[in-house]
């Protein structure tokens, strides 16, 4: 499935799709989007890349095993769940910065939760698909 057209397109599509996935993640609290969709789009980007260049090359881009994203994501989500307890609030209480940050907007603990979900989804999808395609024979 190594086609020049696909490879060339993917070169440009990968960053664009990744950017789009981050965009979906960040705006999820106000507009349609969020961690799940963002993570799925990002994984689709990598899957596309693996179709064009082969899974081994995609793994090289990722630099690490996709599975390592799972604990990182779970850790971030769990942290955002228990973070409020350090301030004497019940777990899962939304914590927010006072001022919005340019480009990103309001930042709160739920954004970190979403980020955790995002990373877990990428980790899970890529682990499943890459494990399958790497153990094809």
């Amino acid at each position: 499935m190594r086609s020049i057209i696909l490879q060339t397109a993917t070169k440009y599509l990968l960053p664009i799709l990744l950017l789009f996935s981050v965009f979906l993640l960040l705006r999820g609290h106000y507009e349609p989007g969020g961690g799940f969709v963002g993570g799925l789009v990002a994984s689709i980007a990598f899957v596309l890349h693996s179709f064009a260049f082969g899974t081994e090359n995609t793994m090289k881009i990722l630099r690490r095993k996709p599975m390592s994203l799972i604990p990182i994501g779970l850790g971030i989500a769990a942290l955002s769940v228990i973070a409020p307890t350090f301030f004497g609030l019940p777990p899962m209480t939304g914590l927010w910065f006072e001022e919005p940050i340019p480009v990103i907007g309001m930042i709160g603990s739920s954004l970190f939760f979403d980020l955790g979900v995002y990373l877990v989804v990428i980790g899970v999808v890529l682990t499943i698909l890459f494990t399958i395609s790497l153990t094809e024979d």
């Binding site: 507009e31 349609p32 799940f36 989804v121 899970v124 999808v125 399958i132």
Partner: protein
């Protein structure tokens, strides 16, 4: 339109059931996915349909100004879709594994006669 969706979910259920009654492992898996989809639509329809009014508050307001689609079934279905992907992935790998072992897609080939014992 509700009627149409109700027809669709009935057909999806029928298709799913028909598929899980077959002997093939792959068909079984497809049947389960169909049943999942049917259930999603069932939940969606029962949450009453609203056209063109997503459950997103307008940028300038703090609460809804207008009727809006029910967000609860949507949240439920979103979770269900993602989980069903995990299920599908696991099942399909299981299937691959079974195929590698038994070299067959036929469920009946998986039956090993159990030892007769009291």
């Amino acid at each position: 339109m509700e009627l149409l969706l109700i027809l669709v979910l009935g057909l999806l259920y029928a298709g799913g059931i028909y598929m899980i009654l077959r002997r093939s492992l792959v068909k079984l898996l497809l049947g389960i996915i169909l049943l999942g989809n049917a259930t999603n639509i069932l939940i969606f329809v029962l949450g009453s349909l609203t056209k063109g009014k997503p459950p997103v508050i307008d940028a300038d307001f703090k609460i809804f100004q207008d009727v809006y689609a029910d967000p609860i079934p949507q949240a439920l279905i979103l979770t269900a879709i993602v989980i069903s992907f995990a299920l599908t992935a696991f099942a399909i790998v299981l299937l691959k594994r079974v195929y590698a072992l038994v070299n067959s897609d036929d469920l009946d080939d998986l039956n090993t006669p159990e030892e007769e014992d009291i």
